[in-house]
């Protein structure tokens, strides 16, 4: 479905992505795991069309994406920190993508119910708790039925108990979709993803199920990283 082929992205004189390659199959959830600064978020931004590629290409369903601007890619990206629009209400935030694509806005109501926030529809987003914000961001990302769902540390800012509950909820919501899930938490990656891609200094150093990675680490760095 999605093929990232030797993609390079440069920030000043540093390569944030250096020949990074990744493949995601239809209906598959893949976790991007790696230490901070390894290029996880940059890879998502590159796939979304928010970064200029210095090299390589990104293909989706066999088509090259390099000439398609962000707003026409129909991908979903849930930002770290959520990026909820402060001037819109909860319902308006969720309906935003539907409005942009000319889709039926009543689906926002269903999405609100899906994440259990029907009572908060007309509330301003800066008066939500962290967990509520997370759900609004998730609903906003999923409601347009994007062809690819990308989640950048979706529960990173929350406390442990809430995290566990939301991960269980999300597993249900993400089932059957094509998902890239960024995290630096090993347990999270293990519990939510079919496969794990390990990122180190801008490169995907190994891909496989978590157990495969554990059993056959491709390098001493991988075994060291997985050992925590």
């Amino acid at each position: 479905m999605l093929q990232v082929e030797e993609v390079a992205v440069r920030f000043g004189d540093k390569l944030a992505l250096d020949q990074a390659s990744l493949e995601v199959g239809s209906g598959e959830t893949i976790a991007l795991l790696g230490p901070s600064g390894s290029g996880k978020s940059t890879l998502l931004r590159a796939i979304a069309g928010l970064e200029r590629l210095e090299g390589g290409r990104i293909m989706f369903e066999g088509a090259d994406l390099s000439r398609i601007p962000t707003h026409l890619r129909r991908f979903g990206l849930m930002f770290q920190g959520y990026a909820l629009f402060p001037h819109l209400t909860v319902a308006q935030n969720i309906a935003f993508g539907l409005r942009m694509h000319g889709l039926d806005e009543s689906r926002a109501t269903e999405a609100l119910a899906m994440v259990g926030l029907s009572d908060l529809a007309s509330r301003s987003v800066d008066r939500l708790s962290g967990g509520e914000q997370q759900r609004v961001a998730l609903a906003r990302t999923l409601v347009t039925e994007p062809r690819l769902v990308m989640l950048d540390e979706p529960v990173g800012a929350l406390d442990r108990q809430l995290r566990r509950r939301l991960i269980a909820e999300m597993r249900e919501l993400l089932d059957g979709r094509c998902v890239i899930y960024v995290t630096h938490d090993h347990d999270e990656a293990r519990s939510i993803a079919d496969r794990v891609a390990l990122l180190h200094e801008g490169r995907v150093v190994q891909t496989g199920t978590y157990d495969e990675l554990l059993a056959e680490p491709a390098s001493p760095w991988v075994s060291g990283f997985l050992a925590g």
Binding site: L50, L77, F85, M100
Partner: protein, 513 residues
């Protein structure tokens, strides 16, 4: 591999520069260069040592210094009260203190004319009246955020109340005091309308000298040389004040709950507030009293028709506001989108017309705007000059909000399917709309009260309220005088209405993004 997306994102950034840059270049930089060339060609800089010019320069400097010191002395007690205590009616007092600052200079000039005879005293008093708000706002903003515990700590360590204030609070306030002083100095240095009216032709700032050389004596080269000199002075003053301002940006504590004044403090606070308000309202009462008998809007001459002037002022104010809003928003967008050196230079460039002096702008128009088409014979110059002077207010109002929008919000909108134009419409615009309206309101106020530039480019058919007030004040007879005062009251009222609306808009503005 080529990536069109990245490139098109940058494209949207450069086209917003074009219009504001052309606006600033044609209406400000080009006239300034023409003035410089003109005065160099005529060898007019040598003429600046004439005794008359030297005495104007000397008067400009010393009256600005004395005005600044007097303003600080008058404003500090009120600033202390407003930033250290909470009392009933405080927000009303704060609003009343701001009014003089937004009054058109011609109105202030007329008001003091109703209070005291022309002369140095009247000029200094008018400058103090006008600028108290600057000190209250800039110094008060810092003062209210200095932690009270610092003074308490000094007291515990054995300092008397005065000693604690002197050794702890005063040093922390110094940058703000200097910064406010620099701004007040600049305003008084570039004072034109007030001095022209209250100086009676004998007391001249450089601004007034430029006007008299150009309009009364027709000595354009000397006027141009003086305008260049004024520009140099102003740039230096702006530079110095911006350096001080940077020091004020230290973050103190958040504004904490202020105590009510207790015991003897209460009496002191009441005394300071009532004395300040009493003195500040005196000129306004004098103006209203002097306007009695001037409320018949008969026109002594075609170019002196008050109703026509009011119509002109409203029309020009609308046009200038629209131009300033469009240019200002584009400019703010361009500046906010980039953090490069060019963008901060552009920012300063747009501020220059405001700081330079309106007279320089008006005179520059008169000298230079005969190319590519001769605009000087048209009344278009009036709204153009107003727009140039008003644009900085729109930029100042919109820029902080545009800068505060996290790039992530725009990216999130793009991912959700919004095209670049749609991102602007759905994200940026709703967030800055209110601020832009505040900026537009300020632009309208600037245009309504503008006198310096207008006095150069105005034609009999395009007389505005401020220029008409000035003309009427120059005519003999009590009828003209009363009519001028009545018009000044009308102008003050129009300004006050807009300011009240702005204040409401500002008050409702909640949260940062």
């Amino acid at each position: 591999m080529a990536d069109r997306v990245g490139r098109s994102l940058r494209l949207t950034n450069w086209w917003v520069w074009v219009l504001p840059a052309a606006f600033l270049g044609y209406l400000f930089l080009y006239p300034v260069f023409r003035m410089l060339g003109y005065s160099l060609e005529a060898g007019a800089f040598g003429e600046l040592t004439r005794p008359r010019v030297l005495s104007s320069t000397w008067f400009t400097i010393w009256q600005a210094l004395v005005s600044t010191v007097l303003t600080l002395v008058a404003a500090v007690p009120l600033t202390w009260v407003l930033s250290r205590f909470n009392f009933v009616g405080k927000s009303l007092v704060r609003a009343l203190v701001t009014i003089p600052f937004v009054l058109p200079t011609v109105v202030v000039g007329a008001a003091f004319l109703g209070l005291m005879p022309r002369g140095v005293g009247a000029i200094l008093a008018a400058h103090v009246f006008f600028n108290i708000a600057v000190v209250v706002r800039t110094v008060g903003g810092v003062w209210s955020r200095i932690d009270r515990k610092l003074e308490d700590a000094a007291r515990v360590l054995g300092a008397s109340p005065l000693r604690a204030a002197w050794s702890v609070t005063f040093p922390l306030l110094c940058p703000a005091l200097f910064s406010a002083a620099a701004i007040v100095f600049l305003f008084c240095f570039a004072s034109f309308g007030t001095v022209l009216i209250l100086g009676g032709g004998r007391l001249r700032t450089i601004e007034v000298e430029i006007y008299q050389q150009a309009v009364n004596f027709g000595d354009l080269p000397v006027a141009a040389a003086l305008a260049v000199l004024q520009l140099v002075f102003v740039v230096i003053a702006l530079w110095v004040s911006s350096r001080w301002q940077r020091h004020t940006n230290i973050d103190f504590t958040a504004e904490t709950a202020l105590p009510k004044p207790q015991g003897r403090q209460g009496a002191v606070v009441a005394l300071i507030v009532s004395l300040s308000l009493g003195l500040l309202s005196l000129p306004i009462w004098a103006l209203i009293r002097a306007s009695f008998g001037g409320w018949s809007f008969s026109a002594p001459g075609q170019s002196l028709d008050p109703l026509r002037a009011v119509g002109n002022s409203l029309l020009y104010s609308c046009i200038a506001t629209v131009i300033a809003t469009v240019i200002g928003v584009l400019a703010a967008r361009a500046i906010a989108a980039s953090r490069s050196r060019t963008s901060s230079l552009f920012d300063t460039g747009l501020m220059l017309p405001l700081g330079t002096s309106a007279v320089t702008v008006g005179f520059g128009f008169l000298l230079a705007l005969d190319w590519p088409v001769d605009l000087r014979g048209t009344s278009a110059l009036v709204p153009l000059a107003h727009a140039l002077l008003a644009t900085p207010f729109v930029v100042r109002a919109a820029l902080p909000l545009l800068r505060s929008i996290r790039p992530q919000l725009r990216e999130a909108a793009a991912v959700l399917g919004a095209s670049p134009a749609r991102v602007w419409r759905e994200i940026d615009f709703p967030i800055v709309a209110r601020a832009v309206m505040v900026g537009a309101g300020l632009a309208a106020v600037v245009s309504l009260g503008e006198f310096g530039a207008t006095s150069f480019v105005v034609r009999p058919s395009s007389v505005t309220v401020p220029t008409l007030i000035f003309r009427l004040l120059g005519r003999p007879g009590t009828a003209s005088y009363a009519q001028a005062m009545a018009l000044a009251v009308v102008l003050a009222a129009m300004t006050a209405v807009i300011v009240l609306v702005i204040d409401r808009l500002r008050g409702e503005q909640a949260g940062t993004f």
